[in-house]
C-alpha cells in the first residue's frame, strides 16, 4: 500500500522532471519556473501554518530577504553572471532562517488572530526597511549580474533548481509530519492548551516549525531574484505574495501534503496563462473571484480533501450495495482526514 502511494509520487515527479524536455516553448517554461517557485513556497508555508494552525501572512519577509541576499552578494562579490550564482539560492534560504528565529520568537508569543496581524506588521517593517535604507538601493532596487544565456535554454536550469526546492520542501514537510515534532505541531493546532498541559514545549515547537518553513521560501526568493535579474522592494516584499500562497494552500487542502502543491500548480499556472490570454484585467478579476468563490463554497476543505471524500463515498456506496455486512463505514471527519491522510 505504501509502495503504491510512493509510486504515484514518483510518476508525478517524473512528469515534472521531463516537462521542460517535452515542452520547449520558453513561454511555458517561464510559467513553469514561476509555478515551481510558488509550489515550493506553498508547501513550505503549509508545513508550519497548515500543521500548527497559525496562519502567517508575513512570509514575503523571507522571500524578500532571500532575494536581497542573492542580489547583494552577487553584486558585492562581483560574481560572474552564470551558474555559480545558484550557490546563493540555499544561502538565501539560510539567511531567511536566521531572520526567522527572532521573528518567530517574538510573533509566536501571541495567539492565532493576533499572530496573523503581527506577521503582517513585521512584513511591512521589512518592506519599509528595504525601501528606506541605502544599502538596498531604495526604490531604484538592485540590478543583478546579467546572465546572457540564450532564450532556448535560459529557463531550464532555473526550473530544475526550483523543482529541487519543491522536492526539499515537500520531503521536509512529509518528514516533519511523521515525526514526533510534527505530532506536536498538530496537537497545537487541535488544542494548544491541552498540548501545553501534556508537556509539549509549545513555544519552542512553534518557533522551530516557523524557522524551518522559512528555508524554502527564502531560497525561492533568491531564485526569483536571479531569474528576473532585477529586484524592487515592493515586488519582492509583496503583500499579495502571502495572500497567494495562503489561497493556493487553502484551495488545494490546508494541512495535506499534496494540497499546497496542487493549489500552487493550478493557481499560478492558470493565473499567468489567463493573464496572457485575456488582456482585460477587470474581466479576469471577476472570473477569478467567481471561480474562487465557487471552489470555497463547494469544497471548503480544499480540492484534495473534497475529491478524496467523493471517491471514498462512492467506493463505500458501491461496497455497501454489494454487501450489507461490510466493515463499518468510515465517517467523514474532514479535519482528521486532513491531518492523518497523506494527501
Amino acid at each position: 500500500m505504501l509502495r503504491a502511494r510512493n509510486l504515484w509520487w514518483l510518476v508525478v515527479l517524473a512528469a515534472f522532471g521531463v516537462f521542460p524536455l517535452v515542452v520547449t516553448n520558453p513561454t511555458y517554461t517561464t510559467i513553469a519556473v514561476f509555478t515551481v517557485i510558488y509550489m515550493a513556497c506553498a508547501s513550505s508555508w503549509n508545513m508550519f501554518s497548515g500543521y500548527s494552525g497559525y496562519i502567517a501572512l508575513g512570509s514575503a519577509a523571507f522571500y524578500g530577504t532571500g532575494a536581497y541576499t542573492m542580489a547583494l552578494l552577487s553584486i558585492h562579490l562581483h560574481m560572474a553572471p552564470g551558474a555559480a550564482m545558484f550557490w546563493l539560492v540555499p544561502l538565501g534560504g539560510l539567511v531567511a532562517m536566521v531572520f526567522a528565529v527572532p521573528i518567530g520568537w517574538i510573533a509566536l508569543r501571541v495567539r492565532r488572530h493576533t499572530f496573523v496581524v503581527i506577521t503582517i506588521a513585521i512584513f511591512f517593517i521589512f518592506q519599509l526597511s528595504a525601501i528606506n535604507f541605502g544599502f538596498t538601493g531604495g526604490t531604484s532596487g538592485l540590478n543583478l549580474p546579467f546572465i546572457t544565456w540564450g532564450y532556448q535554454y535560459y529557463n531550464v536550469p532555473f526550473y530544475y533548481v526550483g523543482l529541487g526546492l519543491v522536492i526539499v520542501a515537500t520531503t521536509l514537510s512529509a518528514l516533519v509530519r511523521r515525526s514526533r515534532f510534527g505530532m506536536q505541531l498538530l496537537a497545537i493546532r487541535d488544542d494548544e492548551d491541552r498540548a501545553l498541559g501534556l508537556g509539549v514545549r509549545t513555544h519552542a515547537v512553534k518557533v522551530t516549525g516557523f524557522t524551518l518553513s522559512a528555508f524554502a521560501v527564502g531560497s525561492a526568493g533568491a531564485l526569483y531574484a536571479m531569474f528576473v535579474g532585477q529586484i524592487y522592494p515592493q515586488f519582492v516584499y509583496d503583500p499579495m505574495f502571502d495572500v497567494s500562497i495562503a489561497l493556493m494552500t487553502f484551495l488545494g487542502g490546508l494541512g495535506t501534503l499534496s494540497g499546497p502543491l496542487l493549489g500552487a500548480l493550478l493557481l499560478e499556472a492558470s493565473q499567468q496563462y489567463l493573464t496572457i490570454q485575456f488582456s482585460n484585467g477587470s474581466l479576469y478579476l471577476i472570473l477569478f473571484g467567481a471561480l474562487f468563490l465557487i471552489v470555497i463554497m463547494f469544497m471548503p476543505q480544499g480540492i484534495v480533501v473534497a475529491l478524496r471524500d467523493r471517491v471514498t463515498r462512492r467506493a463505500e456506496r458501491e461496497r455497501a450495495a454489494v454487501s450489507a455486512n461490510e466493515a463499518p463505514l468510515v465517517h467523514d471527519v474532514p479535519r482528521d482526514v486532513a491531518v492523518g491522510g497523506a494527501g
Binding site: 501571541v110 493576533t114 503582517i120 506588521a121 519599509l128 503583500p239 478579476l285 468563490l293 463554497m297 471548503p300
Partner: protein
C-alpha cells in the same frame, strides 16, 4: 519642526483617524458577533465612495444628502453578502474560511468597479471640500471636521442602539456568547445578518469622507483593508471603543512621526508600536483577556 506643525499633525490625526475608526468599527462589530473577518470591508468602502460619486455626477445630489441613499444601499449589500455567502460558513475553520470568501467577494466587486468606473483615479468634489476655517494658526478643513462629526454621530447612534435597544441587547448577548444567546431565545441568525448589514452600512459614510479627502480607484481598497485590520487588532478584536482609539492612534502616530522625524518612517513607526503593544497585550488594547484560540 515647529509647534504649529505639531499641532496640525495632532489635529489631522484626530480628524482623519475618526473616519478610519468608523470604518473599522463595522469590521470589529462583525468579528465580535460572528467570528467573521470581512476582508471585503476595504472594497466596500470604495463602493460606498463610488455610489456617492455616481449620485453626484449623474443626479447632482449633494454628498451629505446622498448618504440618505447610499447608507441603506450599503446595508442591503451587506445583507445580501451575508445571506449568500457568509451565513453558509460553518465549523471550526469558519473564521479562516470567511477570510477567503470575503476576499473572493472583494475581487468580484473590484473587477466590476474597474469595468464601470475605469481605473482612473477620481475624487469627490463639492464647493466645501477645499474650504477651511482657522483657530489660531491651525487650519481645519470643513470636510475633515464634517467627517469627524459624522463619525462621532454614527458611532454615538451605534452605541445607543447597542446599549439602549432590545436589538442591541441581542447583539451584545451574541457578542458575549453565541450558544447561550441562542438558548435564551435570541435569533442569532437574524442578529448576524443585521449586524453584518450594519457593519457594511458604515462604509457609506466612511467611503464618502474617504473619497472626498483622497483620490481613489478600486485598488485603493488594498491599502484600506490592511489599515483597518491592524486597527481592529490594536484596539482588540470585537471591541468598539478599542477600534475608535486605535483608528485615531494609527493616524496620529504616523502624522506626528512624519513631522518630528520624516514621513518615510511614519508607517514603520505605527507598525513598531503595533508589534510592541501586542507583545505587551496580545489581546489588543481593549480585547477580552481570553483571546479566542482558533
Amino acid at each position: 519642526m515647529n509647534a504649529i506643525a505639531l499641532l496640525s499633525a495632532a489635529k489631522d490625526g484626530v480628524l482623519t483617524g475618526s473616519v478610519y475608526a468608523l470604518m473599522a468599527t463595522g469590521l470589529t462589530l462583525v468579528f465580535g458577533v460572528m467570528d467573521i473577518i470581512n476582508i471585503a470591508q476595504g472594497i466596500l468602502v470604495i463602493l460606498g465612495a463610488y455610489l456617492s460619486y455616481a449620485l453626484q455626477v449623474h443626479w447632482h445630489i449633494d454628498l451629505f444628502v446622498g448618504l440618505l441613499i447610499t447608507t441603506p444601499t450599503m446595508f442591503i449589500v451587506g445583507v445580501v453578502i451575508e445571506r449568500a455567502f457568509i451565513g453558509r460558513l460553518k465549523g471550526p475553520e469558519k473564521t479562516a474560511m470567511s477570510i477567503l470568501v470575503t476576499y473572493a467577494v472583494s475581487l468580484l466587486i473590484e473587477g466590476a468597479l474597474n469595468m464601470i468606473f475605469s481605473v482612473n483615479d477620481v475624487q469627490l468634489q463639492a464647493s466645501y471640500v477645499s474650504k477651511s476655517f482657522a483657530i489660531g494658526q491651525v487650519h481645519f478643513g470643513f470636510i475633515y471636521v464634517a467627517g469627524f462629526i459624522l463619525a462621532a454621530v454614527l458611532l454615538g447612534s451605534l452605541y445607543v442602539m447597542l446599549y439602549r435597544t432590545r436589538f442591541g441587547m441581542s447583539v451584545r448577548a451574541s457578542l458575549a456568547d453565541q450558544a447561550s444567546a441562542a438558548l435564551v431565545g435570541i435569533d442569532v441568525r437574524r442578529v448576524s445578518t443585521i449586524t453584518f448589514g450594519i457593519g457594511v452600512a458604515v462604509t457609506a459614510a466612511g467611503g464618502m469622507i474617504y473619497g472626498a479627502t483622497n483620490s481613489f480607484n478600486a485598488s485603493s481598497s488594498y491599502d484600506l483593508i490592511s489599515r483597518l485590520l491592524t486597527i481592529i487588532v490594536l484596539g482588540g478584536m470585537g471591541s468598539l471603543g478599542g477600534a475608535m482609539l486605535a483608528g485615531i492612534a494609527m493616524v496620529f502616530i504616523g502624522d506626528v512621526v512624519g513631522v518630528v522625524w520624516s514621513p518615510v518612517w511614519s508607517t514603520m513607526a505605527y507598525f513598531v508600536v503595533l508589534v510592541l503593544v501586542l507583545l505587551w497585550r496580545p489581546q489588543g488594547l481593549f480585547g477580552r483577556a481570553s483571546a479566542r484560540v482558533a
